[in-house]
């Protein structure tokens, strides 16, 4: 710790510091506005969940009818929070890994404002009853093209950075970042074309929308989360990735299986029958990349359990990866033909969606945010207690939502299949699980309100002026985030 840094080290620190400075405003804007959308999305999720088992809840306000609030909830969660958190992670990780400063932060910032404006218009339109009614594409058709254009304004610069990178090794994180960057415009463009622009059969439009819904997670949010995990696990532990070959296998397994998934949601519908079966098979086989990535990341941090407990970034990331394995296992079990038949029209699909968006993606994104924000703001997190609350409440709430939705969904499905019972019996059986989900959303709301507040304080640069990172246990012999004093050192170097 007390060793004098060499000239190369100082140059390296200067370079990293200049990269962080170049991205400070766009990255913080994406994270902060994303966290506000997250709180809003969870609030809407709470209302939507309550309306499922208590339809009279807030029935005096027509703007938040059950159908509208459900669509607004998922849209706010995916496009308001998920995409913006992913943008912040992508532009920062790509700049750091290519070791190139961002020269277009102004354009990215303007595009970030536009993205928020468009999402706001979209959510208001849904709540006003003017949405398209397509799952996860509930914004009106004219919104989608503008979202795609703004997406390009935000992410093209990362592709340019990758192209002009210094010659050398391409990191595992960069594979995932690059794949996510290119897959998203493909799936979004296809979905816009086939759902809104094409004159094809409406049933195929519904099938394409189901494919898009699956693709947003498997082909955009998940690769971004895995890029962050593959960056943070070696970075914080100071060890290389456990196996390069397993990483390569996991990447190509996801690249091969991801685009097939989604059509299983229309099992039994009059569409070409190979499509739902191919989708179900792809979702069953998602367990393979989940195990490959999980094994690789967990093996990388295997001997650093204390570090994983201390570092907020590593703790959130590890939890996200463990939940990815659980997602793979549940996907394996719930996408077999008998299971789909039983759970197709129940809470179960919703439980898997929330596990994917919040459990896997968001926990990895929180890990990245707890790592990135101190570097771009040059301040440390104010309170380890806030982080601990955020972690445990998030984990408890997401576990409750997933358990209640999956068990309740199976019971719902059994009730629907049991033709000797009236339909109301099925609703009565699953009602208590609906209550469980609503209460879990309330816990999640508290967790993310704390997180949002903490992040906004950091954005206002009210964080601690210290070079010691905020850890979750204070009795640590040395920092898991590399040499301490790096921020102060570079400050003095620049001075």
């Amino acid at each position: 710790m007390s060793e004098t840094p060499s000239t190369t080290d100082i140059h390296d620190i200067e370079l990293r510091s200049s990269i962080d400075r170049s991205l400070r405003h766009p990255v913080m804007f994406f994270f902060a506005s994303g966290s506000i959308w997250l709180v809003l999305g969870i609030l809407l999720g709470f209302i939507a969940s309550a309306k499922k088992h208590a339809p009279e809840f807030l029935d005096c306000i027509s703007w938040i009818d059950a159908g509208k609030v459900d669509a607004a909830h998922l849209s706010a969660l995916v496009y308001g929070w998920g995409c913006q958190a992913a943008f912040g992670m992508i532009i920062w990780l790509m700049a750091r890994l290519t070791r190139k400063e961002c020269t277009a932060s102004g354009i990215i910032l303007v595009a970030g404002h536009l993205w928020n404006l468009i999402i706001m218009v979209g959510i208001v339109t849904i709540l006003a009853g003017q949405g398209s009614g397509v799952t996860l594409m509930a914004f009106p058709s004219y919104i989608w093209v503008s979202l795609l254009v703004v997406y390009l304004m935000i992410t093209l610069w990362s592709l340019v950075q990758f192209q002009v990178r210094d010659a050398g090794h391409v990191y595992v994180s960069q594979w995932y970042l690059l794949a996510g960057l290119l897959w998203f415009p493909w799936i979004l463009g296809s979905a816009i074309f086939f759902v809104f622009a094409s004159e094809g059969h409406p049933l195929m439009a519904a099938a394409v929308a189901a494919w898009f819904k699956s693709g947003v997670f498997l082909l955009f949010l998940l690769p971004t989360a895995l890029a962050s995990a593959y960056y943070l696990a070696p970075k914080v532990t100071g060890r290389p990735v456990y196996s390069y070959n397993v990483a390569l296998f996991g990447f190509w397994a996801l690249a091969f299986l991801g685009p097939w998934a989604g059509f299983q949601r229309l099992m039994g519908a009059p569409i070409p029958q190979f499509l739902p079966y191919a989708g179900a098979a792809a979702m069953v086989l998602i367990l393979i990349p989940a195990l490959a990535v999980g094994l690789n990341i967990l093996k990388t941090i295997q001997d650093q359990k204390e570090l994983a407990a201390q570092s907020p970034s590593l703790r959130f990331t590890t939890s996200g990866i463990v939940l990815f394995i659980i997602f793979g296992v549940l996907s394996f079990g719930l996408n077999t033909v008998p299971a789909i038949k039983m759970t197709q029209f129940s809470y179960t699909g919703y439980g898997l969606d929330i596990l994917a968006i919040y459990g896997v993606f968001s926990l990895c994104a929180f890990g990245a945010i707890y790592f990135i924000v101190p570097r771009v703001t040059r301040r440390e997190w104010l309170s380890s207690r806030f982080i601990t609350w955020h972690f445990f409440l998030s984990l408890y709430a997401v576990a409750s939502i997933v358990c209640c939705a999956i068990i309740g969904g199976i019971i719902q499905g059994q009730g629907m299949e049991d033709l000797s019972q009236p339909f109301g019996t099925m609703a009565e059986r699953s009602s208590s699980y609906g209550w469980g989900i609503t209460i879990a959303w309330a816990f999640l709301l508290v967790a993310n309100f704390v997180f949002c507040l903490h992040l906004l304080l950091m954005w206002a640069r009210l964080g601690r002026r210290s070079s010691h990172p905020t850890l979750l246990q204070n009795h640590h012999p040395e920092s898991p985030h590399g040499p301490e004093g790096e921020i102060d050192n570079i400050g003095s170097v620049n001075a």
């Binding site: 190139k100 592709l159 340019v160 192209q163 002009v164 210094d166 415009p185 493909w186 296809s190």
Partner: protein, 114 residues
């Protein structure tokens, strides 16, 4: 900085290459759209001639078999018949009990809000 890989010209070309790459699908779709939506004959189109022929035959048969005079007579009789003719199995409505509330003459009832 490695100037052989990173210079303004390289960044400029990289930008357009990236734009081309992410819009490849859209460009492909635009090219393929006219090819896939030209003179495509769907199953519905193929069956349309037969279907219209059947429809015309049915309409012709219906018109020929329609007895307009009998229909007009039936309608006139229907207009004369009581509006609530007793149907098989129907029961007479029991008469109201004398001096019950329902049996009171509305004119004798107290005015509302008095």
């Amino acid at each position: 900085m490695d100037h052989t890989r990173d210079n303004p010209l390289k960044r400029f070309t990289s930008f357009w290459l990236a734009l081309l790459l992410v819009t490849t699908f859209a460009i492909g779709a635009l090219i393929l759209w006219p090819l896939s939506h030209g003179d495509v004959e769907t199953v519905a189109d193929l069956k349309a001639v037969d279907r219209l022929q059947v429809k015309a035959e049915v309409q012709k048969a219906q018109t020929e078999n329609l007895n307009a005079e009998a229909l007009a007579e039936a309608l006139a009789n229907a207009a004369k018949a009581p509006s609530q003719a007793p149907s098989p199995g129907s029961m007479a409505v029991p008469s109201l009990a004398p001096e019950s509330v329902s049996a009171e003459d509305p004119a004798e009832s107290p005015e509302p809000n008095n």
